[in-house]
């Protein structure tokens, strides 16, 4: 069903122009947060209003859209955003990473490397990496202007002093092209190395009214110390459904007696591997011929 009453991709043209101008400046100054006049969307803040506005400003009728939530195509947030654009932009949708031209994501980067012709749009809750260290926007803006990031290193150092290692596991801060410290959105730090990508990466924070971007092949370095180098960690396990030993895993509680299993968080990646015949420790027994 199409909704002819809406403009293409829901937003009005003036709003799209405003977002598009912000996107171009975001690409021109990688990692810098461009303020934009975020609109009310027909979904609550926290459900991807920033990502949806960026996606709406980028979509063309020829696009094939994929939406994931923590790697999964089939969760409420992903399904409803996909349906939203099926209705308002009449674009094709897909669950296959390789077939998608625009991918909107909440908190994961797909396992399969992205390439030219693909745009990854992140939903961002708190775009300011320094916000939990300094609550005042006037101050954090000055800190970015002066490239004053000592506080972030103190935070990471205190992590080490308290825990023996940097305990930040997601939204792990990065430095972009040696200039701006950026919050990569709450992706697991396992995904950080893949922020250096051949695809265009755009970040939208609706409630906080910020847009930022990484052009392809931009240098993105996770902050660390010489004696405590950055480590892209994951659960020390193989996927129990497809057997993959290198993908990011979700822990799933299976009963009330301590039973659990680990499965790929990227559902498309896991399903493709299973379709190719890969099996994990807890895969259902195949029927014998």
């Amino acid at each position: 069903m199409t909704e002819q009453a809406y403009n293409f991709a829901y937003l009005d043209e003036q709003t799209k122009r405003m977002i598009r101008r912000a996107l171009l400046k975001a690409l021109a100054v990688p990692g810098y947060q461009v303020p934009f006049a975020s609109r009310e969307m027909p979904m609550p803040y926290g459900w991807g209003t920033g990502g949806v506005q960026v996606t709406a400003a980028c979509l063309t009728p020829e696009d094939r859209l994929k939406v994931i939530d923590q790697g999964a195509d089939d969760t409420t947030n992903a399904v409803s955003i996909r349906k939203f654009f099926e209705r308002t932009a009449e674009v094709e949708t897909t669950e296959h990473t390789a077939e998608a031209t625009v991918i909107q994501t909440r908190h994961r980067i797909p396992e399969q490397p992205l390439g030219e012709g693909q745009i990854l749009v992140y939903q961002v809750p708190i775009p300011e990496p320094l916000r939990f260290l300094e609550p005042r926007e006037t101050e954090t803006r000055k800190m970015h202007a002066l490239e004053e990031y000592g506080l972030m290193h103190v935070k990471l150092y205190e992590d080490i002093a308290h825990n023996g290692a940097i305990s930040t596991a997601y939204a792990y801060p990065v430095k972009v092209e040696g200039r701006y410290v950026m919050d990569p959105s709450p992706i697991p730090k396992f995904d950080n190395p893949r922020l250096e990508s051949a695809a265009i990466q755009l970040f939208g924070a609706g409630r906080e009214q910020r847009i930022y971007a990484l052009p392809p092949h931009t240098r993105v370095v996770s902050l660390d110390f010489e004696d405590h180098p950055f480590e892209a960690s994951k659960a020390d396990h193989d996927c129990d459904l497809c057997g993959c030993g290198t993908s990011y895993l979700d822990e799933v509680i299976t009963d009330d007696a301590g039973g659990r299993m680990f499965v790929c968080s990227d559902t498309d990646f896991c399903a493709s591997r299973q379709a190719d015949g890969h099996r994990g420790a807890l895969s259902p027994q195949e029927e014998l011929a």
Binding site: R17, K25, C58, T60, P215, P216
Partner: protein, 194 residues
């Protein structure tokens, strides 16, 4: 090719026939160009008196009443001003106040008049739309974000871009337009003569 209507100064024509979809396709081309400096994209769907199709498409896609435009000598004819007033509604202003500036490379100079943003808001800077004779992937060597190893583009000079690069994170960004083709050069791109 420019239609007779636009040539004869009928400023009511030359806009997008289907604005939401044509602007979306044009923006994707502009986005790809800005994300991958030096890449040449082709656009269509607009024509304005005295300027290239690509420049007209960029104006329609990015500008509105909220974006003051500076028209450099050679691109400041009465017909174009009327076309902008009708299709875009943007105020035409002096170089110092402009969010967008349109013109030939020499006509746009001196470049230090334009807004380069502030330390706290480097995005508050001008976007130059530079009309050139032709665009080819040859000439100057480009490196920087958006470029895997290196790219090439026929740019009018090296020095202005080097000086702009020193201002980073401040600085201006630009599109180059010729006929229906456009390429972009953000402030991060390093330009060297081959």
């Amino acid at each position: 090719m420019m239609s007779a209507d636009v040539m004869n100064g009928n400023v009511l024509t030359g806009g997008f026939a289907d604005a939401p979809v044509q602007a979306a396709r044009a923006f994707r081309a502009a986005l790809e160009a800005m994300a991958r400096p030096g890449r040449i994209e082709t656009v269509e769907g607009a024509e304005a008196p005295g300027i290239s199709t690509a420049a007209a498409v960029l104006l329609l896609t990015l500008c509105d009443r909220e974006t003051p435009i500076h028209l450099a000598p050679g691109c400041d004819g009465a017909a174009l001003k009327r076309w902008i007033a009708f299709h875009i509604g943007a105020p035409v202003v002096a170089a110092e106040e402009a969010m967008f500036a349109l013109g030939g490379w020499q006509a746009l100079k001196p470049l230090d008049r334009y807004r380069i943003g502030t330390a706290e808001y480097p995005d508050r800077s001008v976007m130059l739309i530079v009309e050139v004779e032709s665009l080819e992937s040859a000439g100057m060597k480009l490196t920087g974000p958006g470029i895997e190893s290196e790219a090439a583009l026929n740019l009018p000079e090296v020095e202005a871009f080097a000086r702009n690069g020193l201002l980073f994170p401040l600085g201006w960004d630009c599109y180059f337009t010729a006929q229906d083709r456009l390429a972009a050069l953000p402030r991060t791109t390093k330009v060297e003569a081959l």
